[in-house]
């Protein structure tokens, strides 16, 4: 073999070796989650460290679904995350479009203000928000969570959507308006379909943020029937023991919606994240 071919081969091996290393490291915890979730209770501590238990069973899954409040947590999480994702994306599309296309008095300050909201650690804001929400009966309520999540996600989502709208030439909407459309018609029929990848990316981003949020869910909600699943996961940790098997099974179940969601939007997401990278 020629040295050049050899060198290219060596690079190839190196390339894939490093990528596999990374993928392995990133996915191993997930694998461990799965492994523990299917290990029967009696083998959990007795078998030592093994990559796969000598015997697998669904017992943790059935007990999580039948004997715990986990289905309620799961349902609450779905409600909160979907509502937040859809609401935020709607608002952010409109706001992002406005920031991208129009000049209006105070625009500069508005953007600055939105940026400021992103500067504070959330922990700082918990007590004031609690204080505000209690008289409004928004504590112990899913609506309260949706409001908080939306408030914190709208600014970033708006900037995200704005950048997607910035990537769409103004000419297209102007052409549509000359063709006989209204400004809103041009937005709906021309700009919006072209930002689908951006919308998918925003939906995905907000959905995951809301789905895995723990801090506010823990602080604003004390009743079991309103808890979301990250809080629910904590309930598997009791004073004297940790029920690892059920906790992992619950974790696997909690992954499903996020997984499905990303499978659905991945086609747009990949386009969205690379959009504008090359002239098309």
């Amino acid at each position: 073999m020629k040295p050049a071919t050899l060198r290219r081969g060596a690079y190839w091996v190196m390339h894939y070796f490093l990528i596999s290393l990374y993928v392995l490291a990133a996915l191993f915890p997930l694998f461990w989650l799965l492994k523990v979730s299917v290990t029967p209770e009696m083998l959990l501590y007795s078998e030592g460290v093994r990559l796969w238990p000598s015997e697998a069973s669904w017992e943790h899954y059935t007990s999580v679904l039948r004997h715990t409040d986990f289905p309620i947590f799961f349902e609450n999480s779905v409600i909160v995350s979907v509502m937040t994702a859809v609401g935020v994306t709607l608002v952010a599309s409109g706001a992002g479009y406005a920031l991208s296309r129009f000049t209006f008095p105070g625009k500069y300050w508005l953007v600055g203000l939105m940026l400021i909201t992103q500067m504070f650690p959330l922990v700082m804001l918990i007590s004031p928000i609690f204080k505000l929400f209690a008289p409004l009966h928004l504590t112990n309520s899913l609506t309260g969570l949706i409001v908080v999540y939306s408030a914190f996600n709208v600014p970033f989502a708006t900037f995200l959507m704005q950048s997607f709208f910035d990537g769409i030439p103004k000419d297209l909407e102007e052409a549509a308006m000359i063709d006989g459309d209204t400004r809103f018609g041009a937005f709906r029929k021309i700009a919006l379909p072209l930002t689908l990848p951006g919308i998918a990316a925003t939906l995905g981003f907000v959905f995951t943020a809301a789905w895995s949020e723990l801090l506010f869910a823990l602080m604003l909600i004390s009743k079991t029937d309103k808890s979301t699943f990250p809080v629910g996961l904590l309930s598997f940790i009791s004073k004297f023991s940790v029920d690892f098997g059920q906790m992992m099974a619950a974790g696997i179940i909690a992954l499903i919606p996020a997984f499905l969601f990303f499978v659905l939007i991945q086609k747009y997401l990949v386009r969205g994240l690379t959009a504008g990278a090359v002239k098309g």
Partner: protein
């Protein structure tokens, strides 16, 4: 089809004034080219006619009706953008029929209009393609088709050819002109390319710094530029300018350039001695021999271009371009004798830049 009247139209962005009280009457079916360097306000004017830009002051009428406060969709004009602005998520057919669908045109009529336009532009095999699967020239054609299909009152073109390569530009230039002949639609065409302006226009409007410099047919503008700006902008290679002075000389007048005196026919010089700019186009300077050619310059550079040869010469420190159809055997550094035919001289006031005589 309709006429367009622009009366006293101004436009400012903050403190920057881009159009200064402009007046222009465009006749029904006329092909007007707005030409000028970038930033002269030509695109702003076009966008104001289209309704994409608010009109600062003055009025714009299309077909006799004031359109100042009408939305673009209600002006019934079509526009071809420099970027083509084809809707990327729609097929060629959908792109072209978009306006008709918005107007709820019956399906049959829509189909006919689409087929007819596609036939005129040779787009039939491309109708089901998306814009990304088209070449630059094809995209341009679709953009034209989208404008033609709805038979608007007027066409607006915003530098539609500047994204095409030279050969294609030449071809599309001729096609647009032919199309205009057959459709007879009022057209306003914006370009910074003076060749496009010359070849396509019924009348050229030369703009500079938001002010109309001259309005006229291409040859009027070429032969009798109203001022130094128009003279220098229209024509390629550009007109030569030499500084000199104009003085009374018996019955007529004479131009003094350094040590050189050229007689000119002028009714009456306004002042005894007046500083001027003498303009002469490169193709009008004659390379000659003997007493007939009194001007001596030195050759700096010879650029053979096939049909013509472009000579760069130095005349008393000033750069002079000469376009010659013969192929003069000259080398850089050599002296060259020149003649400025009297009828080909353009005289401009050195202070105001305005044409004299």
């Amino acid at each position: 089809m309709a006429s367009i009247e622009i009366t006293g139209v101004s436009k400012s962005y903050g403190a920057v004034k881009v159009l200064h009280g402009m007046d222009l009457a465009i006749a029904d079916g006329e092909f007007i080219v707005l030409v000028g360097p970038s930033g002269c306000g030509k695109s702003t004017l076009l966008r104001m006619i289209a309704g994409l830009e608010a009109i600062g002051a003055g009025t714009i009428r299309i077909g006799g009706a004031v359109v100042n406060d009408l939305a673009p969709k209600d002006r019934d004009i079509a526009m071809v953008f420099q970027s083509y602005a084809l809707y990327p998520h729609m097929t060629v057919a959908d792109n072209m029929s978009y306006s008709l669908r918005l107007r709820r045109t019956p399906k049959e009529r829509l189909g006919e209009a689409l087929a007819e336009t596609a036939r005129i532009l040779g787009l039939q095999p491309l109708l089901q393609r998306r814009p990304r699967a088209l070449s630059g020239g094809q995209r341009q054609r679709v953009a034209m088709g989208r404008a033609i299909v709805r038979k608007p009152k007027a066409f607006l073109f915003d530098e539609p050819l500047s994204n095409l390569d030279a050969r294609l530009r030449e071809q599309m230039r001729a096609e647009i002109k032919k199309l205009h002949r057959s459709l007879g639609a009022t057209s306003v065409y914006v370009t910074h390319d003076q060749i496009e302006a010359m070849t396509m226009a019924d009348r050229i409007v030369a703009l500079h710094d938001g002010v109309v410099q001259q309005v006229g047919t291409p040859l009027e503008i070429y032969d009798r530029p109203a001022n130094v700006f128009v003279a220098g902008f229209i024509g390629s290679p550009a007109m030569n300018f030499l500084t000199g002075s104009l003085s009374a000389n018996g019955a007529g007048a004479a131009i003094r350039l350094g040590g050189l005196t050229l007689p000119v026919k002028l009714s009456a010089p306004s002042a005894a001695e007046q500083p001027i700019l003498l303009g002469i186009r490169p193709e009008h300077i004659e390379v000659a021999e003997g007493p007939d050619a009194p001007i001596e310059a030195r050759v700096d550079l010879v650029e053979p271009m096939g049909v013509t040869t472009l000579l760069h010469a130095n005349l008393g420190g000033e750069d002079l371009k000469i376009l010659s159809l013969d192929r003069p055997r000259l080398v850089p550094g050599a002296p060259v004798r020149l003649r400025f035919p009297e009828g080909r001289l353009h005289l401009f006031d050195a202070a105001t830049g305005k044409r004299i005589g």
